[in-house]
């Protein structure tokens, strides 16, 4: 732990004029030692990526370091010339990014993108580069590396692309690997594999890894040491155990407390309740491609014979990875998507076969909360109109609808004056509250929440989850909660249905699913939750 490879001293990075604060990074110091993984953790806008980008000399335009030093190999990286930095990049310090799709050139074959790393530093012959590329791809665990070499990025899965990125980064055996949220865009099982891969490679090579993340679960999984950032400052740093088990700073404590706990409590009273929603034999297939001239069409079974029930006052979680069909189920329930077959009985009435006025009337009882707080509100409508529009479309007078909108805003803890403001004046969490108020305006009995907290920072997420739980109780709502995040599901759901490839593979009470999963896929999914082992160990 003595030989630090990178030392950041009093780093100050200025943001362009007109940004919400003057410095992205303000007086930050830390060391990175050989053979360790240092996690820099913080919420969005905390400046956590900036010091890493500064070390690579890859800061965004208009953002520039104005003070401090970044020492590497006896040099201050901030004072090196562009040519000297070019020599270091890829060779001594390498980097991987969040979006493996956009981080690879879509028009170049994988082999050429890997070979380029050697070419950039004038190493090896053409043939040797190819050979090394195959070795690297094997090393990062890509099945059939020879084939992958010839592939274009769009032909690989997200996890494979990230493995290619890692192969490129490791090609010249750098001393430092900077990983900027490398698993955020990946599914939970893929994330677990990539984290394992990074850990293994780091140990084999004795590299230093600077790992940037917003996810404390990932931190628990991978970090040796942790630095917590808020508003451009490091508020707390220490070993992973110190910070996670015994956080000192109030902000760290708040963040860690906000993480949904994995252990689902057994519902106090297991009253069965009257069923409100009864879904049977739901199917939806997509055809992609095809057309007038008959190119071959691919059939995707997005929803495959799905059956569910939901009781009044109950929260049912539908969990699954991307492409599992969980969102399609939600959209079929409200008929934003037309199911091919099956019934959706809402209080005895079959939603799946209604149309026109009857469908509009039935939809009053089943409303939806959406994922993206920025796309879910019309940017050109005032908040009052956004909430009142639904009741008005059903014949409520304008005066009455607006009066109700005010009540709803107060119900979701927003100021009544908000009705005269536009969506862009609100933060992400506040916007999500507006979305909830809109869903409640038609006095529904069932609410579908599609990834409703996934786009929010963890502390905001906790507040919105609390609000939902509270509203559900007060208004006796039934909730279908669609999420990829098992922690969130564990916290809020009474029962959980696990989906894979369009099918429900397991359903049961939340605590049973977590404590004693029956299906192999469910087990994989749960084991892949970052930070789970640590949490179990702590729970004893």
């Amino acid at each position: 732990m003595t030989d630090q490879v990178l030392r950041v001293e009093n780093l100050k990075i200025a943001l362009p004029e007109g940004a919400d604060r003057d410095f992205a990074v303000n007086d930050v110091s830390f060391d990175l030692h050989a053979g360790e993984i240092l996690c820099i953790v913080g919420e969005s806008g905390s400046g956590k990526s900036m010091s890493a980008n500064a070390a690579m000399g890859l800061l965004p335009e208009l953002v520039r370091p104005v003070g401090g030093r970044i020492l590497f190999d006896g040099n201050d990286l901030l004072t090196l010339s562009e040519d000297e930095m070019m020599d270091l990049r890829g060779r001594k310090i390498a980097m991987i990014f969040q979006e493996p799709m956009s981080a690879l050139n879509p028009l170049m074959r994988v082999e050429d993108q890997i070979a380029e790393v050697f070419e950039a530093h004038g190493l090896l012959t053409r043939k040797e580069r190819k050979e090394r590329a195959v070795t690297l791809l094997t090393e990062v665990g890509i099945p059939d590396p020879e084939k992958a070499m010839r592939a274009y990025p769009f032909q690989l899965s997200g996890g494979q692309r990230q493995r290619v990125m890692i192969a490129m980064a490791l090609a010249l055996e750098p001393q430092i690997l900077i990983a900027d949220e490398p698993t955020t865009a990946l599914d939970v099982t893929t994330q677990a594999q990539i984290l394992q891969l990074i850990r293994n490679l780091q140990e084999q090579r004795g590299m230093a890894v600077m790992f940037i993340t917003h996810d404390f679960g990932v931190v628990a999984e991978i970090a040796d040491r942790v630095a917590v950032m808020q508003y451009g400052k490091i508020v707390e740093a220490g070993t992973a155990d110190e910070v996670l088990d015994n956080p000192q700073h109030a902000y760290t404590q708040k963040l860690i407390a906000a993480i949904p706990k994995l252990a689902a409590e057994a519902s106090e009273v297991a009253e069965p309740g009257t069923p409100i929603l009864d879904v049977a034999g739901l199917n939806k297939t997509y055809r992609t491609g095809g057309g007038m001239f008959g190119a071959q069409a691919r059939v995707v079974h997005a929803v495959n014979n799905v059956s569910l029930t939901l009781a009044e006052g109950e929260t049912l979680g539908i969990v699954g990875e991307s492409g599992s069909g969980k969102s399609s189920v939600g959209r079929c329930l409200v008929r934003l998507m037309q199911p091919d077959s099956g019934t959706v009985k809402l209080a005895g009435q079959d939603m799946a076969h209604l149309s026109g006025g009857a469908l509009r009337e039935a939809r009053k009882s089943i409303q939806m909360i959406f994922q993206d707080p920025y796309a879910s509100l019309n940017p050109r409508a005032k908040v009052g109109r956004i909430i009142a529009e639904g009741p008005m479309a059903h014949g409520v007078s304008k005066r009455e609808a607006y009066a109700r909108a005010v009540e709803l805003l107060e119900l979701v803890d927003l100021d009544a004056l908000s009705i005269d403001r536009y969506p862009h004046e609100f933060s992400g969490g506040q916007r999500q509250r507006i979305g909830i108020a809109r869903a409640l305006a038609l006095e529904p009995r069932v609410i579908i929440a599609d990834e409703a907290v996934s786009a929010l920072d963890v502390s905001i997420q906790a507040q919105v989850l609390d609000l939902l739980a509270d509203l559900k109780k007060r208004l006796n709502l039934a909730l279908v909660f669609i999420t990829h995040d098992l922690r969130v599901a564990a916290q809020i759901c009474d029962r959980i249905a696990v989906m894979q490839k369009g099918e429900i593979v397991e359903t049961g009470p939340a605590h049973a699913i977590f404590d004693n999963p029956q299906n192999a896929y469910t087990r994989t999914l749960i084991e892949a939750i970052p930070g789970r082992e640590k949490e179990l160990a702590a729970a004893g």
């Binding site: 890859l58 890829g90 390498a94 979006e99 879509p106 380029e116 790393v117 530093h121 980064a169 001239f293």
Partner: protein
């Protein structure tokens, strides 16, 4: 690829039939009874001759039957008869087509090459004076009426400076052969091709510049920098190739404008192509010829589109493989 080309040809055939149908109805919408017009064009307007013409061309049959006859004729490369020029329309057009192809293809290549080159240069020096200069010139060319640019070019380079010939396809009466003739045609080609290309050069330059700047913000460019690659390689291999995709699409979309522009250029330079033919047809109110030229120019646009589509597929593996 073959399957793709066949599909596109099928689609092109449908569009051509639609254009022919449009043409057919336009002839009927033209002022005057077609037979009377034809008779007028033939120089004899007595009632008997008109009736005879009407029967000869099946104008007494129902409209849809006439349409069928017309379409069948076109398939046999019969685009009707020009009474003014006393020749079948198809013959007139095929005589003039090579000159137009030479002009449009040269203008297309010049403008695409110089336009993207200027766009790349401007994007590499974004915000500097050379970018400002290139961008301002492009803005100016973009706003210049093509026919006026052509006239001014004649005035400057032909009338005042006497550097280049101001009209025609080759020197009349010189009877050059072989290389000398090619050189002579080349000299005549410079001004028309340059003025026709001017506008499109501006279009491609602006698109290339914007596209280069946009692509340079993408994540994979950051990856390339993180590898330690030289900026020149990043520019060429990563940014340029990706930035060219929208430019190629645009080039295809502009083909129609290019052919339309050729009408103006040929008119000013007395270039003996189908554009000039169109002008002559207009002056003589020769509707058969006018619509024939319109049809052939649409076919040329379809050909340009096909070429750019193929080019796009060669550049972008996502479309090629999928």
């Amino acid at each position: 690829m073959l399957r793709f080309i066949l599909m596109r040809l099928g689609k092109a055939a449908i569009i051509l039939i639609a254009i022919l149908t449009l043409n057919f109805f336009l002839i009927h919408a033209a002022p005057g009874d077609p037979a009377a017009v034809m008779a007028g064009e033939a120089g004899a307007a007595d009632a008997k001759f008109i009736a005879q013409l009407r029967e000869q061309f099946g104008l007494d049959k129902p409209l849809l039957v006439q349409l069928g006859i017309y379409l069948k004729g076109v398939i046999q490369l019969d685009l009707g008869y020009s009474y003014r020029q006393q020749m079948p329309v198809a013959d007139l057009i095929f005589q003039r087509l090579p000159a137009t192809l030479l002009l449009t293809v040269s203008a297309f290549i010049i403008s695409l090459f110089l336009g993207t080159l200027a766009g790349v240069l401007a994007s590499a020096r974004v915000g500097k004076w050379s970018d400002t200069l290139i961008s301002s010139l492009a803005l100016l060319f973009y706003a210049t009426p093509l026919f006026w640019a052509a006239l001014m070019a004649v005035l400057l380079f032909s009338v005042y400076l006497n550097w280049l010939p101001g009209f025609g396809y080759e020197t009349v009466g010189a009877n050059y052969t072989g290389f000398a003739r090619a050189l002579d045609i080349g000299k005549h080609l410079i001004l028309p091709a340059a003025t026709l290309g001017l506008f499109f050069m501006a279009v491609y330059m602006r698109m290339t510049r914007a596209s280069m700047l946009e692509v340079s913000q993408l994540d994979f460019v950051k990856t390339a920098r993180a590898k330690g690659l030289k900026p020149s390689i990043i520019q060429r291999r990563h940014i340029f190739r990706n930035a060219m995709l929208p430019v190629v699409t645009l080039a295809g979309l502009q083909a129609g404008q290019l052919v339309g522009g050729a009408v103006l250029t040929e008119t000013v330079f007395a270039w003996p192509g189908i554009g000039r033919l169109m002008f002559e047809a207009l002056a003589q109110r020769d509707y058969n010829l006018l619509l024939g030229v319109f049809f052939v120019s649409a076919a040329m646009v379809l050909l340009f589109n096909l070429v750019t589509d193929i080019l796009y597929r060669v550049v972008d593996p996502r479309i090629r493989v999928a």
